[in-house]
């Protein structure tokens, strides 16, 4: 069987939806961060596949930038989480109630 663009897109959509469902279902903040990373990675698959399909480098450039931004976002997220964990001793988002009215 030949692997075509459609297969890559289906794979990417599966990974994206996995991340999305995980984000909605899981309550552990670190797992939620991981799910966001999963969604960002699935976007990379789409960009890489289309880059190959269109035979130009735009998509590849996007993938590299995406890696850098995703890493920066994870770093900031974990830093804030450490600060929250020091106070609350938990990373469960249901326990983050300081802002509830």
């Amino acid at each position: 069987m030949e692997i075509t663009l459609t297969h890559y897109l289906l794979l990417a959509m599966t990974v994206f939806l996995t991340g999305m469902v995980g984000f909605v279902v899981r309550r552990n903040a670190i797992v939620m961060l991981m799910c966001v990373e999963l969604m960002l990675s699935s976007v990379n698959i789409v960009f890489a596949a289309y880059s190959r399909f269109h035979a130009n480098a735009d998509g590849h450039v996007f993938v590299l930038m995406n890696f850098a931004v995703a890493a920066a976002e994870a770093a900031i997220g974990l830093a804030i989480l450490v600060e929250i964990f020091r106070r609350r001793r938990t990373v469960n988002v249901d326990d983050l109630k300081a802002l509830m009215e």
Binding site: F62, I80, A98, L99
Partner: protein, 504 residues
């Protein structure tokens, strides 16, 4: 972008200078903070203001080299200069409001200034974007810096939680935005706006991939502008963030997001006008109504202003909807419909400036109230009798709130007037009616604060205390609110000229 382009940089220095000043300035503030030990606390804020004022000066006196920059990645012109002035102004105001923060929090927080500059840099890049990649990088530069501004007050659990909430939902929404960009790239075969516009003209845009792509990108932008149903972060984040950061977010981020949203919908108009127009209209109505109705029930002034900012996002979306309404036509616009599009665009620009002025004035006063009482001054009832203790602060907050409610002679009224008249001219009369009903509802919750300030006796628990510099700055902003409300014509004409440039 297929062939290797070596941009002719020497001719582009002039146009790049504002961006370079902010970028290098941000780094400079960091270095100065680390290495100059004899610094007084205020010096960093003077340096930050100096950098932002430099941007304004460079833009005024510099040679105007408009057009593509860096091989088509960015585009500069009156539109970007307009927003750069706005961001620099908001940045200076935020710096003034933030400078007193050491006294309250008892802690030196120097990272605020470089982060503010980097956030502004991201906004400037975002507005100048002429490529999906530039949109992404600008948006993330802006957002990443703002996440830390919101969540970076150490030892304050409310700030940390707000920051985390903003970050995790922001990451979630940028995943949608990116997926949308990927699909549009797949459709167009390039990430430049020129590639996309070309593909829109030559290929059939009514296909699943571009429909899905533009919808996902709208979700991403909708999150940043707090469009219902992507607004859930707004009250919590606005409430938990330090007040000066809330003011910055409510004005600058909203302006940047709307600037790029306007350019995006114009670019994707042939597709959006047909497939997503009804959805956008529905979301606009929901955004206005939901924001105003929930704001009615708030007793916390920061949350109230957060919901009011959702409602104002709805009014601004009215302008966006008008811009792409089928009556305004496709890329081959007729003369009359182009005029309507221009008046809607100019109304958005006018609204953004007016909204920035009145919101900054309001948050400036709320920030001062925080200042002396040592806790967040968010309870509306404890503003009782402010008019007797601090007439200037009360008058400024009053003017800002009346202007937000859209009462003449303030700028909020003129902004709504221009916006609704553009909507009416496009033939969308039901939408205009809903908008007017909404602004009538909003009068109630803005006036409630005024009643508390002016009609009630001060109590022991009432907020008090002044920090003169911030109050006077807010007062000046309030004067601008009146001035722009009384004499809006010149500015509105300028907005028309500016907007005409981005109709491509």
């Amino acid at each position: 972008m297929n062939e290797l382009i070596v941009p002719n940089l020497s001719s582009q220095w002039g146009a790049l200078l504002p961006y370079l000043i902010v970028a290098v300035g941000g780094l400079l503030v960091m270095v100065v903070d680390s290495f100059v030990r004899t610094l007084k606390k205020d010096h960093l804020s003077y340096l930050t203001m100096f950098i932002l004022i430099c941007v304004v000066i460079v833009q005024i006196v510099g040679r105007r080299t408009d057009g593509d920059l860096l091989g088509g990645m960015m585009i500069t012109g009156d539109f970007t200069r307009f927003f750069n002035y706005l961001f620099a102004g908001i940045g200076v105001m935020t710096t003034i409001f933030a400078t007193g923060l050491y006294d309250r929090e008892g802690r030196y927080r120097p990272e605020f200034y470089p982060l503010l500059l980097f956030s502004i840099l991201g906004m400037m890049i975002l507005v100048a974007a002429n490529d999906l990649l530039t949109i992404f990088l600008g948006l993330e530069t802006m957002s990443l810096a703002t996440y830390i501004l919101v969540g970076g007050v150490r030892g304050n659990i409310r700030s940390s939680e707000a920051g985390f909430k903003y970050l995790i939902l922001g990451g979630f929404s940028s995943a949608f935005l990116l997926m949308g960009m990927a699909l549009i790239y797949g459709f167009a075969g390039g990430t430049g706006f020129a590639d996309i516009a070309h593909a829109m003209k030559t290929q059939n845009p009514d296909v699943l991939i571009v429909g899905l792509g533009s919808a996902l990108m709208l979700v991403g932008f909708g999150f940043k502008v707090a469009m219902v149903p992507f607004h859930m972060w707004t009250p919590d984040v606005y409430d938990g963030a330090p007040t000066y950061v809330t003011g910055f977010m409510a004005t600058a981020i909203k302006a940047a997001a709307f600037a790029i949203l306007v350019r995006f919908v114009i670019l994707m108009q042939p597709q959006l006008a047909f497939a997503w127009y009804p959805v956008l209209v529905a979301l606009t109505i929901l955004t206005m109504s939901f924001g105003n109705l929930v704001a009615l029930a708030q007793s916390n002034i920061k949350r109230m202003l957060a919901w009011s900012s959702v409602a104002h996002a709805g009014y601004l979306l009215l302008g966006v909807v008008t811009l792409i309404s089928p009556s305004v036509g496709g890329s081959d616009m007729m003369m009359r419909s182009q005029e309507i599009g221009e008046s809607a665009g100019a109304a958005i620009l006018f609204y953004l400036v007016g909204y920035a002025l009145m919101n900054l004035a309001a948050f400036g006063i709320i920030n001062v109230m925080n200042h002396k009482s040592g806790e967040d001054a968010v309870d509306i009832n404890r503003y009782a009798g402010l008019s007797r203790r601090q007439p200037l602060a009360a008058a400024t907050l009053g003017i800002a709130l009346l202007s937000l409610a859209g009462i003449p002679p303030f700028v909020g009224f003129m902004a709504k007037f221009y916006l609704f008249s553009a909507v009416v001219r496009a033939g969308l009369i039901p939408l205009a009616v809903i908008g007017v009903i909404n602004s009538l509802i909003s009068v109630y919750y803005y006036l409630r604060v005024l009643v508390v300030m002016y009609m009630k006796e001060p109590e022991d628990t009432s907020y008090h205390g002044t920090e003169l510099v911030s109050v006077v700055t807010s007062g000046v902003l309030a004067l601008l609110v009146i001035w722009l409300g009384v004499m809006p014509d010149a500015f509105h004409r300028a907005a028309l000229v500016i907007f005409r440039q981005i109709h491509f």
